[in-house]
């Protein structure tokens, strides 16, 4: 599967999360939608790590997961 497909999926997840952050008013659901946006970014990071053949993007994705676990 070409890397572009993964990027399309990550962009759609990010946009769904952004729409949720703006439209929902329950603070808990807003936090969940922020997690969605972080996950979209994570998918893009891992996809680019696969594209370049390096593991640095996966390291970055793990750091993002740590931050998300920190403010949860």
């Amino acid at each position: 599967m070409a890397i572009g497909w993964y990027l399309v999926v990550s962009a759609m997840i990010f946009c769904i999360g952004a729409a949720g952050v703006l439209a929902r008013r329950n603070p808990l659901v807003i936090l969940l939608c922020l997690e969605l946006m972080l996950n979209g970014a994570n998918l893009a990071l891992v996809a680019f790590a696969r594209m370049w053949g390096g593991e640095d993007g996966q390291i970055f994705a793990l750091i993002v997961m740590v931050v998300a676990a920190g403010w949860a």
């Binding site: 070409a2 994705a61 676990a69």
Partner: protein, 231 residues
């Protein structure tokens, strides 16, 4: 290769439907469950991208620990429908419009990109790409400083959570505890003499004539406040 494509579409549809479920479902508990589904599908996508360790961490840490925490929050706070009252009527329309604009911009950027690698399946990878051995090696050599900063961040978050929970519990917890302990047990309750029935009414400390509490104790109306159980 065909199997890879089928797996990709299954996982991508799962992730997208989970994301849509998080946003659209009214009950916050169900949106947490939809987020768990989304995270597990995303872990499958990570596996397809040869990121084994990230996928395992996603399932264990994210879909396991963090989501259990969210379920607890929903169970304690309770899912009120829309607690924030301030006017968000325009956001309900503008939010999806803004998201559509961002999506259009991102797709334009992706269609017009000059990156050749986007059209291909990715670079050649060495054996053991994305395994815990490689990731741990990078974390302890090249990315040691971000690793330490992340651990410090988690420590600060844990200590801060404990401090906040202590402050929210009450003003002076010791005073409250002392007030509970200092209530004296009324006479003739719970003694061996009461059980044996050897105490007589004459030794009781000045009972009122009308409402003499029975020495048996439980449920005696009008008696002094009693210390009921506890520790």
């Amino acid at each position: 290769m065909l199997f890879h494509n089928i797996l990709f579409f299954i996982a991508a549809i799962g992730a997208l439907s989970g994301a849509i479920g998080v946003v659209t479902v009214r009950n916050p508990f169900y949106s947490v469950l939809a987020l768990v589904f989304h995270l597990i599908s995303l872990a499958a996508l990570f596996l397809l991208l040869r990121a084994e360790f990230v996928a395992a961490a996603q399932v264990i840490v994210y879909a396991g620990a963090v989501m259990v925490l969210y379920v607890f929050v929903v169970a304690y706070v309770g899912g009120g429908d829309e607690p924030l009252p301030a006017g968000g009527a325009q956001f309900k329309v503008l939010g999806p419009l803004f998201a559509l604009a961002v999506a259009a911009e991102l797709s334009i950027a992706m269609l017009g990109t000059a990156l050749k690698g986007v059209k291909h399946n990715g670079a050649k990878y060495t054996l053991g790409f994305g395994t815990p051995a490689h990731i741990g090696n990078l974390f302890l050599t090249k990315y040691l400083f971000p690793f330490e900063v992340a651990s410090l961040l988690l420590l600060v978050a844990a200590v801060g959570a404990v401090v906040l929970a202590r402050r929210r519990r009450g003003l002076e917890p010791d005073v409250e505890l002392e007030r509970q302990v200092r209530v004296p047990a009324p006479s003739y309750t719970g003694t061996m003499a009461e059980a044996a029935g050897t105490r007589t009414a004459g030794t009781m400390p000045a009972p009122e004539p009308g409402s003499v509490p029975e020495p048996v104790g439980h449920g005696s109306a009008g008696g002094p406040p009693r210390y009921e159980g506890g520790w």
